[in-house]
């Protein structure tokens, strides 16, 4: 076993690409592009502003947006909050109903809860056992007073891809602004905001081999998506997100986007190969299945149910592999995955589920090491488990 665990938790965060680090470092020191991008009275300030705009162009190119439609934020969580809280508050005079799904990231669910405390009504549409939100179910939830809908593009726990095209069509027809959380899909799936009729879309850099602490919100210009700012002071980002721009973070996100533009297809082929290797390896002893639709997911996330074992014991017993139980973002809470629960799974099934997410720098040899260690521990835990027959069938639970 290598001294470093095999890192299979890229859905939680990715290592920063060395080219991104170089670009960021060039913005930090005395001889770099360190000046305040808002200081347009001198050349260093204008150089920093140029770096910020180059990054904005890169994100725009990756997503098919107009650069003027992108607002820098501290990450996807802030972008989601700005879209949901800001969007609902702006349109509160027209209606106070918001629609989302039961399997969203906590950033969305908690922002919606905050809206409820302000007197908004929120409808949470269920997903099917395949982890997909039906566009028809979402359409049925829309009301005349609905001002906003929010659905994620790719689920962070299961990797399942939502039918955003159809959902956007439904919302567009009803005149409801749609926000899409694209934290898990940026640079992993083609996104063309020139064609896709969504009003707002949230992005993060750190799922894309960029730095933590930077993200962006897409706000469509025509028809114009409107939000009330969450913060005030300084007028940066057209008054929507004030505060001195973090040039190095933005430059890092821009570089991550440039690399993603070049590598999107190559990355997906690489991840498909690794995911298949993982799946073929782990399914060998039997009793292993996908959580969510295996045919409609990004290749970088495998959410697997391993019958007869407890995920927490697998994590402890296989320290040479770094992986997640449910979502890393909810693991600070002892509650079981709300996503798997919404898909109809019980507590025991959820406890026997794990998320494996290889990345751009993961090698086939590392996958083999991880599979060997996981299989050995799965076999040991099954031997210990009263829920597992030696014949390979899980006992009724």
């Amino acid at each position: 076993m290598s001294s470093q665990p095999v890192y299979l938790d890229h859905a939680a965060t990715t290592p920063v690409d060395p080219r991104v680090i170089d670009r960021m470092q060039a913005c930090l020191g005395r001889k770099g592009v360190f000046a305040n991008p808002a200081s347009d009275s001198h050349a260093p300030g204008r150089a920093a502003a140029r770096e910020v705009e180059l990054a904005r162009q890169a994100l725009a190119e990756l997503t098919g947006a107009d650069p003027r439609e992108l607002v820098w934020t501290s990450g996807a969580t802030e972008a989601i909050n700005l879209a949901i809280l800001g969007g609902a508050r702006f349109h509160a005079g027209r209606g106070r109903h918001v629609v989302t799904s039961a399997i969203e990231h906590r950033a969305t669910l908690d922002a919606c809860r905050a809206l409820e405390a302000e007197g908004f009504e929120v409808t949470r549409v269920d997903c099917g056992s395949d982890g997909r939100v039906s566009p028809q179910a979402l359409a049925d939830a829309l009301r005349p007073d609905t001002v906003l809908a929010s659905v994620m593009h790719v689920n962070n726990e299961t990797g399942v891809i939502q039918d955003i095209e159809s959902i956007a069509g439904v919302c567009s027809e009803a005149g409801v602004a749609l926000h899409v959380d694209a934290a898990q899909s940026l640079g992993k799936l083609p996104i063309d905001l020139g064609r896709l009729p969504v009003a707002m879309m949230s992005f993060s850099a750190h799922k894309l081999y960029g730095p933590k602490g930077i993200g962006a919100l897409f706000l469509r210009r025509r028809p114009r998506a409107r939000v009330t700012p969450l913060m005030y002071g300084g007028g940066h980002e057209r008054g929507l997100r004030p505060g001195t721009l973090a040039t190095h973070q933005i430059a890092g996100m821009g570089e991550a986007c440039r690399i993603a533009i070049q590598r999107l297809e190559q990355d997906q082929q690489h991840l498909s190969g690794l995911a298949d290797r993982l799946w073929q390896g782990l399914r060998r002893p039997g009793g292993v299945s996908f959580n969510g639709d295996p045919d409609r997911r990004i290749p970088g996330i495998l959410n697997l149910h391993v019958a007869g074992i407890d995920g927490e014991s697998l994590v402890a017993g296989a320290p040479g592999v770094a992986f997640a139980l449910g979502s890393a973002c909810t693991s600070a809470s002892p509650e079981p995955s709300h996503v798997l629960r919404a898909m109809g799974h019980d507590e025991q099934h959820i406890r026997a589920s794990l998320r494996l997410s290889p990345g751009r720098f993961t090698t086939a040899a590392e996958i083999d090491v991880a599979v060997a260690e996981l299989l050995a521990e799965i076999a040991r835990l099954r031997e210990l488990s009263p829920l597992w027959h030696s014949g390979g069938e899980a006992l009724p639970q």
Partner: protein, 125 residues
């Protein structure tokens, strides 16, 4: 939330080594008890073979977190070779202290106490 146990922690040692893991074959002098945690679905099963009032063999199986598995192994280490009264002496407090269980894992000790007391009650009949 996963607990992290350093290698010196008693839970870690018993989780890794699992002394007494297994199941006793069905026999007239073998009793089995199983408890399930409603909170998280953990399951602990204890099998004992009793001869002349002595627990001559004890084995456990467990589905759950490392603390749950360690509780099973702890039961075996404390009970095998003892008189059946030792079953009544199993307590959540003793397990929690012996295994230095975090407060969030006391329900695993509850499972261990349940199976031990159930076996004791059935043997006393």
């Amino acid at each position: 939330m996963s607990e992290y146990y350093p290698e010196s922690h008693p839970v870690w040692r018993l989780f890794r080594e699992t002394p007494g893991a297994g199941e006793l074959a069905e026999a007239p002098d073998v009793l089995v008890s199983e408890a399930r945690s409603p909170a998280d679905g953990a399951v602990l099963r204890l099998s004992v073979q009793v001869m002349d009032g002595v627990l001559v063999q004890v084995r456990f199986k467990a589905f759950g977190c490392p603390a749950c598995i360690a509780c099973g192994a702890w039961l075996v280490s404390r009970l095998e070779g003892q008189g059946t009264e030792a079953l009544a002496g199993v307590s959540v407090v003793a397990l929690a202290e012996g295994l230095q269980l975090p407060a969030t894992r006391r329900h695993c000790a509850v499972l261990a106490e349940e199976v031990a007391h159930d076996l004791h009650a059935r043997l006393a009949r």
